[in-house]
């Protein structure tokens, strides 16, 4: 009985870790819209969002590629046991908690700045 219980806990722990890792590294196409298509597009249009994304990448060298940006966004979405946090909620929470950056004068949530950066990576001409 004790052995079975220990075994169960081990399996459960592995499962949780795997779930977190999966959520973190899974390619992000969340149910509330693709993460690289920020809500910002509606307000500012693709050209300006691309510019903002490029600007963000230039001042944040550690996030100057798609993998780094996806990882950073996934970190924000990871939420053990409750599934991934919707991007829209992340953006609102960023603003509420003061996690903002000023990019070309625009006050953006960190999440949407990364979204814009990812958008710029995906849509900028090679």
């Amino acid at each position: 009985m004790d052995l079975n219980r220990r075994r169960f806990l081990q399996v459960a722990a592995v499962g949780v870790i795997a779930g977190i890792a999966s959520a973190r590294y899974r390619r992000l196409t969340s149910h509330d819209g693709p993460v690289d298509r920020p809500e910002l597009l509606l307000m500012l249009g693709p050209d300006r969002v691309r510019e903002l994304g490029t600007h963000y990448r230039s001042v944040t060298p550690a996030e100057n590629n798609a993998d780094a940006l996806r990882e950073a966004l996934a970190d924000g979405q990871a939420r053990p046991f409750f599934g991934r946090k919707p991007i829209a909620d992340m953006v609102r929470d960023d603003f509420a908690d003061g996690r903002t950056v000023v990019v070309d004068g625009w006050v953006l949530s960190v999440t949407e700045a990364r979204q814009a950066a990812l958008f710029s990576v995906r849509t900028s001409p090679l």
């Binding site: 809500e39 307000m43 500012l44 603003f95 509420a96 000023v102 004068g105 625009w106 006050v107 953006l108």
Partner: protein
Amino acid sequence: MHTDARTLENDTVLDGDLCIVGAGAAGITIAREFANTPVKVILLEGGGFEFEQQMQDLYRGEIVGQPYFPLQAAALHYFGGTTNHWAGFCSTYDDIDFEKRDWVPHSGWPIRRADLDPFYARAQPILDLGPYKYDAADWKMGDAARVPLIADSRSFSTKMWQFSPPTRFGTKYRNDIVNSPNIHLYTHATVVEVEANDGLSAVQSVRVRGFDRKELRARAKRFVLACHTIQNARLLLASNARARTGLGNGNDLVGRYFMEHFEMPSGELALANPETTKTKLYALEGLGGPPRGELAITAAAQREHRVLHGTASVEAGNYGDPVKSTFQFIDTVMMNAQRAWRNGGMKGPPPMAAASAATAPRDATPRFYHLTTRQEQAPNPDSRVTLGDEKDALGVPRAKLDWRLTDLDKRSMRTFYELLGREMGRTGTGRVQLREWLLSDDKTWPSFISGGWHHMGTTRMSDDPKQGVVDANCRVHGLSNLYIGGAAVYPTAGAVNPTLTLVAISLRLADHLKDRGL
């Protein structure tokens, strides 16, 4: 009664109970409070009933420090004063504007907002305003679209404005003054010196001089200087026959703490949902139109972030359009065009309205709105009016304005828009962009730096003679019968335009003078 002082003999002496120097909003308000009473009021106005270039030139002065609009164009020197060209924006100062704030050096009034409330209420009809109500909820006017942009915010509220038609004091109250048997208005009576007694404890007379060098004196029990913030200081400093550094200037405070309201294009707002977001409450529907709101940083946010009080107007526009500061938009060319339009029978649209229409939004449902700062300037003893070397046509040294700013002024503006950006994002209303000039360091100002021609300070109010020129009743410390009227007495500038508060304080001063036996 009215007399053109040019018709009087040289060395004429006028005697009265109360002598008011300057017939602008403050002087006329105080004088009217004594209309048809036994108090004999002498009201001295430098100009006549119309604009005169020679008279206006007396206001010309030297600008040093920050660039500023020509002084002779910023205030008007004839009956009615600067109300002859004001725009009519009226709102109240808030409780926090009167408080001593440990993050705002030299802040704090010796009176509170509650002390002014009854006078604000009395000032409303004088300025042809509506009821004394300044909450956004009071001004829905049966229109469901007139609601605040941001609700339930700890950082921002909507500050309401009412619009005077605008009331031209020189036109509206001319008959009240001229027909009052106990008020004697003298036009073309420019005061060149305030004369104190030997002990410098009281004023005996003021000396008036004309362009023909004729002089007259006015004697009274009490005197009120109400001839504009810069000119009040200039007159006191130039009254140095007995007091070497100027009258009331024993503590080297006269002329210091000159303040303006910043009026600067500062940001853009992009709405997330322009079709459903209601912005009507913030629309300016012409001068004299219905009340409108501006976004204002709350007292709680000012305390938390240790910033000054400010608001932002929210006006629909086109992203990327050049937006002019107040000084840029209403330059001397525009002022002359506006005057010509008025003098020419007001045919066609006024030049200012035509210029505004040229930048109207192209979209029927605009997404972008220009955000323009209106913010108090931190009181600064180095921002000051002194006497220049040049003298005017009457032999009085011209004013020299050294307008100086502090790091707190700019940091407050930047913080305002960063916080506003967060609130717009948090509530899903939209996104805010700070203009480029706001992103640089706190000491650098753009070439289009601008105020609202709101001149405040120079004879600030304090209970302590070492901190202020006048006491809580606007009486000059050390002089038993000399008072200052107008925005010159403001220790801090508040966020909103000064005229409503100026009229309220003038009414309060009039009541005080009555209580003192006038």
